[in-house]
Symmetry: C2
DNA sequence: CTGGATCCCTCACGATACTG
DNA sequence: CAGTATCGTGAGGGATCCAG
């Protein structure tokens, strides 16, 4: 049935046969944080038609990347989760996300931001070397989304939802992106009112160091 | 014109806007070893229509991944090469290639193998830790293709063509894949006649350790 | 011979509606 | 909630043709 192969006997070509179809990798990335139901995946990918979602999940399941599973609650409900093999895509997804973030334009009017997006951004931009001395609990509120990031000496734990004891709360209606690239400095962000911070404000500067998107390399003329 | 976006403000989604289209990543992988002409790229991707190749190259050029360049010879000839930004995909491509190799089925009757494929396989399966004590010059002949791999204490240099001074020459008409997964042991490979070796035969066993495709993880039942 | 452009056909994708 | 059914469109596949 794989009439649409690349015709090469090559690991990369086969990888793309499996996760190279449209939507496949973004679905994998949304599943990185744990099992999700069909409808959750739809919400994460607002533009995906349900039949295509259905087809992708079936293909990924056949390829051993995703596993379909009956959930305890609600009775009869089903969920999708990554297999071990699927989990091995985690680093690749994170690196590809960081690579893409370097050339990402400003958000379009219809672009949506989910908690998964935000958490992927935090995890892919996290620089353990820069966080070796840091211990801090951040809470981020971007629009309606609330996530948190616990940084503990080079180790990051990021998840959805608020935090009981926070060191610093960042709140914004805009995007974190200019902050992560350094296009917007923490001071500028506060002064312009783009970002409101509550808590130990000194930790804001550290935030921008610890979560960072390196610039696109410059081209040397030939 | 980007009517075909993912609708998410997300680094990964944008990365896939850039290199997620069909053929894009395999083209990048073929360009990793240096500039190539239009026709070379066609030979590397036998199934790609010329109009699609043309379109992909233009898109990749617009995205800053590929650069079009006039070559000294032949006069008027053009070549395509990766930009610095494009080169940053190298690790991702190698890891994705290795990931795919774990679940790669046997070659189809029409699957082609090129030098690029082979070199990608060598580079992605190379395990520096396993090669720390090794210094060896391998020459590989797979069908018509000839490549070499110099291993020098954890560092690999792999390129096309034969080698003046070889320690071991491996020759086969089949694929290296079962050798790299361990499905076929070096001894079995020699005894069955699948692979012919010339030179220091002890280095054959080392070869299979140094270039290795780990198995697909086993699934634990829930 | 390289580096494409052009045409046509097909199928995967996208939108919408509908069902167990 | 978790999909299937239907149908239109456009990107991809394949062959051919053309300019430098």
């Amino acid at each position: 049935m794989k009439t649409r192969s690349y015709g090469k006997y090559c690991g990369l070509a086969h990888a793309l046969d499996v996760v190279g179809e449209r939507w496949a990798l973004v679905l994998v990335s949304d599943l990185l944080r744990g099992p999700k139901r069909f409808t959750d995946l739809q919400r994460g990918q607002p533009r995906i038609p349900s039949n295509v979602l259905s087809a992708r999940l079936k293909e990924l399941e056949d390829a051993g990347v995703v596993r379909r599973r009956v959930l305890p609650r609600p009775p009869g409900g089903v969920g999708y989760e990554l297999t071990e093999y699927g989990r091995e895509l985690e680093d690749i997804v994170l690196h590809l996300g960081l690579w893409g973030a370097k050339s990402m334009p400003d958000p379009g009017p219809d672009d949506v931001v989910t908690a998964d997006t935000l958490l992927l951004a935090l995890r892919s931009t996290f620089r353990p070397e820069a966080a070796r001395e840091l211990r801090a609990n951040y809470e981020l509120r971007v629009g309606e989304i609330v996530v948190h990031a616990r940084v503990d000496h080079g180790v990051l734990e990021a998840d959805e939802g608020p935090l009981a004891a926070t060191d610093l709360v960042l709140e914004t209606d805009a995007s974190l992106h200019p902050l992560l690239t350094g296009e917007l400095s923490p001071t500028e962000a506060i002064e312009s009112g783009t970002v409101q911070v509550t808590g130990k404000r000194k930790l804001f500067a550290r935030f921008a160091e610890v979560f960072h998107i390196p610039p696109m390399p410059v081209e040397l003329p030939a």
